[in-house]
Amino acid sequence: MSEAPEILRQKFLQLFGWEKRKRRQEILTTLVCYSLLSALLLLPVYFLLPESFLRWFIPLPIFFTLAPFLFVGRRWRRGDSARALVHLDKALHSDERAITAWELMETKATRPAALLVLNQAAERLKTVDPKALFSRSRRWQDYALIPLLLVWGGLLWFDVDSWLSPDIQTPAQQGLAQKLREFSRELQEKAGSEGLRQSLQVGRELEKAAQKSIESKIADEQFKSELSGMSSKVEALGKPVGNEPSFATAESRQSLKDLKAELEAAQELLNLPDGAKGARDVGQPSLDRLATLPQLKRQLDQQGQANRSLSQSELKSVLDAMDKQVTGELDRRTLLDAQQFLEQLAKQGQAEKAETNARIAGRGEQDFPGDGEKAKSNSNRPGSEPGTKEEAFQPAPQLPAGAATHLKGMIGEGNSSGVALKAKPSAGKTEVSQEEVIATYRRQAEQELNTERVPEALKETIRRYFLSLETKQEQK
C-alpha cells in the first residue's frame, strides 16, 4: 500500500492548520484595529457614558459585537482549503498536483491515474514546511495596531474626549465654576472671621454647588440657570428683615467693622471685675472709658444713651442689640456682594469685572461715603467710564487728650485692614489702662493671625510677642 495518501493527509493538515491559525490572527488584528478605530471615532460621544472610567472599556463592546460577524463570516471553508492548495502548487511549481491530489483523496479515487497523481504530489510535498513556505504577511492592520492603541490611549489619557464633547464645558466655562468656588471659599473665610453666620452658610452652599458643577461637568446653560437661581436665593436672604430701618444701614462698611470691634472691646470692659462693682449702675470710669471708643460713642450719642444713667445690664443689652444690628447689617451687605457676584458671573464676559468689583467691595476695605446706601445701586457694578478713587484715609478725628488709640496694624504687604486713627497725644496720665490696651491689641492680633495674610511661620512669633508684652506687664 502506498504511503502517499498518509503523507499528503499530514501535509494538508499542517497546511490547513497553519493557514487557519493565520486567519484567526488576521481576524483578531482586524477586530482590534476596527475596535480602536471605532473607539476613536466615538470620542465625541464619550460624555454620554454614565461613568468617566467606562471610556477605557469602549473598544471591548465593539470588539465583541464585531467578533461573531468576522469569525463566522470568515470561517474556514472548503474553498479556503482549495485556495491554500492552489497557492501551494504555485509556490512549488507543481502544476496543480496538490489540489488535484486533495480532490482525488476526498473522492477516494483508486484509479491508477489518480494514484499516480497522489504519488507525484506526495513526492513533492514530502519535504515541504508550510510555515516556512507561507510565512505571515504583514497587512496594514498589523502596522496600524500599535499606533492606533497609542493614539487612542493618549487621547484618553489627556482627556481629549472632553474637548470634543459639545456638552462639556469649555475651559472658559469651567472657569465660571472655579471662580465661584474660589469666591465661595473667600466668602466663608471672611464670614467666619467676622462671625457672619448667614454669609458663612451661603458660602458653604455656593462652594458645594461649584464643586458639583466642576465634578459633573454641567453644561454651560444649565450652570448659568443654576447661578441665577442661587443669585435669587442669596438676594432673598440679603433683604432687611424688619420694616424699621436700623441705624447700621446708614453706616459704611468700615464704620460698621470699627463699631463691631469697639462693641467687643466695650463688652470686655463691662465684664472686667472693676467695672462690675456696682451691680446696678455703671461706674463713671467705665463710662469714661466707653467714651474713648469713637464709633460707639457716636452711636450712643445718636441714640441718646450717652447722657443717660444706665445700669450695667441695661448698657450690656444696649451693646448687645447694637452688636446684633451691626453683625446683621454686615451679613446682609456681604450677601448682597455675593448676590452681585453671582449675577455678574452668570453674564458671560462680565465675570471678571464682577469678581473684581466684588473683591473690591468685600476685601478692598476702602471706605466710600454712603457705601451702605449704595449697596443695591449700580455703583458697585462695572461702569462704562473709569471711576474716580477717593482718598483711602479719612482725616484723623480730633480726639481728646488721653483717648485710647485704636490702631489696626498693617501686616505684610497690601492694603490696610482697618482704619488708621491718629490721635494727638495729650500730656498727663492715660485714662486707659495698659492691660486694656494690651488685651485689645492681643485680640486684634489673634484675629489677624487667623487670616491667611499672616504667614504660617510667623504666627507663633507674633503670638509669643504679645504674650511677652503681657508677661512684662505682670512682672512690673
Binding site: G79, A82, R83, R97, I99, T100, R111, P112, A113, L116
Partner: protein, 338 residues
C-alpha cells in the same frame, strides 16, 4: 487493471511519441512547432482542425507529412464552387456484377481516408460544405440511404484563405463549431524563410519515418480521457467559457464580452478546451491538468467559436485579443470554486 507503473510507462510512451512526431515533421516543415503540436493534439483527441493562412505556407505538405509519419491514409480535396457533395462522400455507380446483372456499387469519395485535407473549404457552396458536416461529427456518411462508416482515426484539416474573400462562401457557424481547433499559420520569420529556401531547393530529404499508427493513436485517445482533472481547474475553464457570453455576468471580464461579442462559445468549446488541456498534460508527462494547460489551449479551442459584433469589427478587435483580455481577468480560483 493497470498499475501505477503502467500508467507512468504509457505516459512516457505518449510523450516520447509526441516528441518524435514533432522532430520528424521538423525535417520537412520549418517552424510552426506550436501548430504541429496542436494538430497532433486535435488528432489524438478525435477533433478536426480549421487552418487559416495565406497560400504557400506549407499547409498541404504539413498534412501529408503527418499522414506519412502516422502511417495513416491521406486524401486531399480542393474545394471549388462547382464541387458537389458526391464528389466528397462518393456515389453509387451502375456496374455489372460477375453474373452480368446491372447493380449499383458505392464508389467511396475522398472523405474515406484517415486524414482529409479540405483545401480552401470556403470556396465550395454551403451545400457541399455541409456534406462534410455529417462526416466530421458522426464520422460516417450516408449515400443512397446506406450508412458508410469512416475509418478511425479520422481527421479533417480544412484550410481557408483569410485574405481572398471574393467568390467565397464563409462557413456557417454550425459547421465552424464542429472544428476542434482553429489554427492560424503565421508567416515565417527571416531565419525560417532562409531554412525553407535551403530545404526546398536542395535534394529532398529522405522518406519520413513512421512513428505511430492508427491503433496507437486510438489508444492515446483513451489515455487522454483518463487524465484527472481537478474541480477547481474545471471550474476555471467553465468560468472562462461563461465569460465569453455577453449575457452571463462573470465579473470584470463580462464588460469585454458585452462590448464586442454577439454570441459566446458553445459547450463544444468547453469540451474541446478541457480535452485538449488533458492531452497537453499527457504529452507534457504530467498526470493531471494544470491551469496553464487550460490557458495554452484557450485560443485554438475558442477563437472560432466567438461571433463578434459590428463594434468589434469597427475597432479591429479580434477574437484572440478578446479571449486574452477575458483570461487575464478571470481568477484561477474564487470563493465559489468548490
Amino acid at each position: 487493471m493497470e498499475s501505477v507503473a503502467e500508467i507512468e510507462q504509457r505516459m512516457q510512451s505518449a510523450r516520447r511519441s509526441f516528441d518524435e512526431v514533432k522532430a520528424e515533421i521538423a525535417r520537412v516543415i520549418v517552424g510552426h512547432e506550436d501548430l504541429i503540436e496542436d494538430i497532433f493534439i486535435a488528432l489524438v483527441c478525435g477533433g478536426h482542425c480549421l487552418l487559416e493562412g495565406v497560400p504557400g505556407l506549407g499547409k498541404t505538405l504539413l498534412v501529408r507529412s503527418l499522414g506519412e509519419i502516422l502511417s495513416l491514409s491521406f486524401s486531399r480535396i480542393q474545394f471549388t464552387p462547382d464541387l458537389m457533395p458526391a464528389d466528397i462522400t462518393g456515389t453509387n455507380m451502375l456496374t455489372d456484377d460477375p453474373s452480368g446483372r446491372k447493380v449499383f456499387e458505392f464508389q467511396r469519395g475522398p472523405i474515406f481516408a484517415h486524414i482529409v485535407l479540405a483545401d480552401e473549404i470556403n470556396r465550395a457552396t454551403p451545400k457541399t460544405q455541409s456534406a462534410l458536416l455529417e462526416a466530421m461529427q458522426e464520422q460516417n456518411v450516408t449515400v443512397g440511404g446506406k450508412l458508410h462508416r469512416l475509418e478511425h482515426p479520422f481527421m479533417v484539416l480544412a484550410t481557408q484563405n483569410p485574405i481572398e474573400m471574393e467568390g467565397t462562401y464563409p462557413l456557417p457557424e454550425a459547421q465552424v463549431d464542429r472544428f476542434f481547433f482553429k489554427l492560424v499559420l503565421e508567416f515565417p520569420t527571416h531565419a525560417e524563410l532562409s531554412r525553407i529556401a535551403e530545404l526546398t531547393t536542395a535534394s529532398p530529404p529522405g522518406a519520413l519515418r513512421e512513428i505511430i499508427d492508427g491503433p496507437a493513436i486510438l489508444q492515446m485517445r483513451q489515455w487522454i480521457r483518463d487524465v484527472p482533472l481537478a474541480e477547481v481547474v474545471k471550474d476555471y475553464a467553465v468560468r472562462i467559457v461563461l465569460s465569453t457570453h455577453p449575457q452571463k455576468q462573470q465579473g470584470n471580464s463580462a464588460a469585454m464580452a458585452q462590448k464586442f461579442v454577439l454570441y459566446g462559445s458553445s459547450p463544444r468549446g468547453l469540451q474541446s478546451l478541457i480535452l485538449a488541456a488533458k492531452a497537453r498534460a499527457l504529452f507534457a508527462g504530467r498526470p493531471n491538468v494544470a491551469f496553464d494547460d487550460i490557458r495554452a489551449m484557450l485560443l485554438p479551442s475558442l477563437r472560432h467559436r466567438l461571433i463578434l459584433n459590428l463594434e468589434a469589427d469597427a475597432e479591429g478587435m479580434g477574437a484572440e485579443r478578446i479571449l486574452q483580455e477575458i483570461v487575464a481577468q478571470v481568477p484561477e480560483i474564487t470563493a465559489n470554486s468548490l
